[in-house]
């Protein structure tokens, strides 16, 4: 059997597990995220454990992948090739950070919360999609050097 045919199933399972991780950890809750960012106020540092454990597990998998020439169900690893630290990266990160602090939602948790059908979440997601397209129309995709 051709293992590449399993690729959609792998992506589906990964998305589901990712979403469950966001829900179990409480990353989906804007109030909890804002409390994590409230370092100079009523700081709740527990969410640092989410990032810490996720990075550690992925780093291990990434290192294991180094021993393989290809993924299990695809022909190549698509590792990002960008290394530039420029104004585009920094301004994007700052704008994102400000928006993240305002309400306490970043893209993953916003998407995983869609089926709460909470109207405030849905309004955020609508603005999120609009912001993504505005950037696409006004600034455009990043140029990769040949």
């Amino acid at each position: 059997m051709n293992r590449q045919r399993l690729a959609p199933l792998v992506a589906l399972a990964s998305g589901l597990i990712f979403g469950l991780g966001l829900l179990v950890s409480g990353m989906n809750n804007p109030a909890k995220v804002r409390a994590f960012l409230d370092v100079f106020g009523a700081w709740e540092p527990a969410l640092i454990a989410v990032m810490g454990s996720a990075v550690t597990v992925f780093a291990l998998a990434f290192w294991l992948g180094r021993k393989r020439s290809a993924p299990v169900c695809a022909s190549v690893f698509h590792e990002p090739t960008l290394t530039r630290i420029d104004a585009r990266l920094l301004s994007g990160a700052i704008l994102f950070g400000v928006g993240w602090g305002l309400v306490g939602l970043c893209p993953g948790p916003a998407l995983v919360n869609i089926f709460t059908l909470n109207s405030d979440v849905l309004q955020f997601v609508a603005a999120l999609l609009l912001g993504n397209r505005l950037a696409h129309w006004l600034v455009g995709p990043i140029k990769h050097k040949a």
């Binding site: 991780g21 190549v76 994102f96 950070g97 970043c106 405030d120 505005l134 696409h136």
Partner: protein, 136 residues
């Protein structure tokens, strides 16, 4: 702390499965953009990933899980925040998942700089809102 560690481990495992399974980075910014480019075959994995992500909440509730969502109902804040996050993650090529989890896991300097930058921006934003007495 146990829930945070368990949830983070699941997120790490999901990212590991996607990388070792199909060689893709689980960045939500890319997944979001793929919604608008779904006709491109190389983007199709992202729609499957998104489908799994969206199924997580109904499944979690079905299994008896509690996942409170406490969010502001201030329409102006929601619109401004959504626009900033959508715009910023597009031009910065990533967010907490792509830069934060996968980028730092790859020991990418670029992603680490991005992660520190958006973390600091978030902390400063919350501190300034507190100073100005903005209730969320």
């Amino acid at each position: 702390m146990m829930y945070e560690l368990a949830g983070g481990t699941l997120i790490g495992l999901a990212a590991a499965l996607l990388w070792l399974g199909i060689g893709r980075i689980s960045g939500m910014t890319g997944v979001l953009s793929s919604v608008f480019q779904s006709w491109q075959p190389q983007r199709r994995w992202a729609l499957w990933f998104l489908a799994g992500l969206l199924l997580a909440y109904p499944l979690f509730r079905l299994l008896g899980g509690e996942a409170p969502v406490v969010i502001t109902d201030h329409k102006g804040l929601l619109a401004a925040a959504g626009l900033l996050v959508g715009f910023g993650t597009y031009i910065g090529n990533g967010c907490t998942s792509g830069h934060g989890v996968c980028g730092m896991g790859r020991l990418s300097v670029r992603s680490t700089v991005a992660t520190v930058t958006f973390m600091v921006a978030g902390v400063v934003t919350v501190a300034m809102m507190n100073q100005l007495g903005v209730q969320v």
